[in-house]
């Protein structure tokens, strides 16, 4: 099954991005595909390469990047939401790209399921 994932909250404050990541990783392990993850609202803050969490904590941004590199997951950050929050190409971690809301709607149209992770 193809899963599209929508992440609506930023890292660390909310568990949404963690749960979305674990869902995506597990879905892939079980033989499903996750072609794209879309980051909206404060979810765009997951995409920054400038975050430096403590060594003994998970690096939320980096592990999404790793998932993207290993499994070809397209990490899309909403441009309008990103501009409001100071996220641009200069601060993006590897594997993320900035694009429009049409990329979210496409997930709903094309994939078997669209799963929202938010508050």
């Amino acid at each position: 099954m193809q899963f599209g994932i929508l992440v609506n909250e930023g890292p660390y404050t909310h568990q949404a991005s963690d749960t979305a990541y674990l869902f995506a990783r597990t879905a892939i392990e079980k033989g499903h595909t996750v072609p794209r993850v879309f980051f909206y609202h404060d979810g765009v803050n997951n995409s920054t390469r400038l975050a430096t969490p403590p060594q003994d904590d998970r690096n939320i941004s980096a592990r999404w990047s790793k998932l993207a590199a290993e499994h070809g997951v397209d990490l899309v950050v909403c441009v309008a939401a990103a501009q409001r929050r100071g996220i641009n190409d200069d601060v993006l971690a590897p594997g993320y790209r900035i694009s429009g809301l049409g990329q979210l709607v496409e997930m709903g149209i094309q994939y078997d399921r669209l799963v929202t992770f938010g508050d």
């Binding site: 609202h41 309008a80 939401a81 809301l101 049409g102 709607v105 709903g108 149209i109 094309q110 508050d119």
Partner: protein, 131 residues
């Protein structure tokens, strides 16, 4: 709002998208940014429904004035939805009741549904996005 040119993902597929609005119009950005997604989805010629439930019913309340909190008042957008062919607006009866509101307090024409009716409507959808 955003670029409203007709869009197409090339597949010709039309799915039933429901947008579930659960939050008050101000206090968080969900209602404002959620509307952006609704408008883009309509531009993709999809079958769009909007549901207002819990504090989301306040989004449609008459007489909103956000000047005092210095944020944009976007409540006019709800009245413009018809122009984007977004005509399926549903409101949860229990949420209205719990907040002392009636249909007359709302700025647009809606269909008020009971919880079982809402559940049936949700079951018919292909995609449900909650803000």
């Amino acid at each position: 709002m955003s670029d409203m040119d007709e869009m197409d993902d090339g597949s010709g597929i039309v799915k039933k998208f429901m947008f579930l609005n659960r939050k008050a119009p101000h206090g968080t950005v969900y209602a404002l940014e959620g509307l952006e997604v609704v408008l883009i989805t309509a531009a993709f010629d999809q079958d769009v429904s909007m549901v207002f439930t819990d504090d989301g019913v306040f989004q449609l309340m008459k007489g909103i004035d956000s000047k005092g909190i210095e944020v944009k008042d976007f409540s006019k957008t709800y009245r413009a939805l018809e122009g984007y062919d977004i005509e399926k607006l549903y409101v949860d009866q229990a949420s209205l009741d719990a907040r002392g509101l009636t249909e007359d307090d709302l700025i647009v024409d809606v269909t008020v549904l009971s919880v079982p009716e809402m559940a049936n409507l949700m079951a018919e959808q292909d995609v449900v996005i909650s803000f």
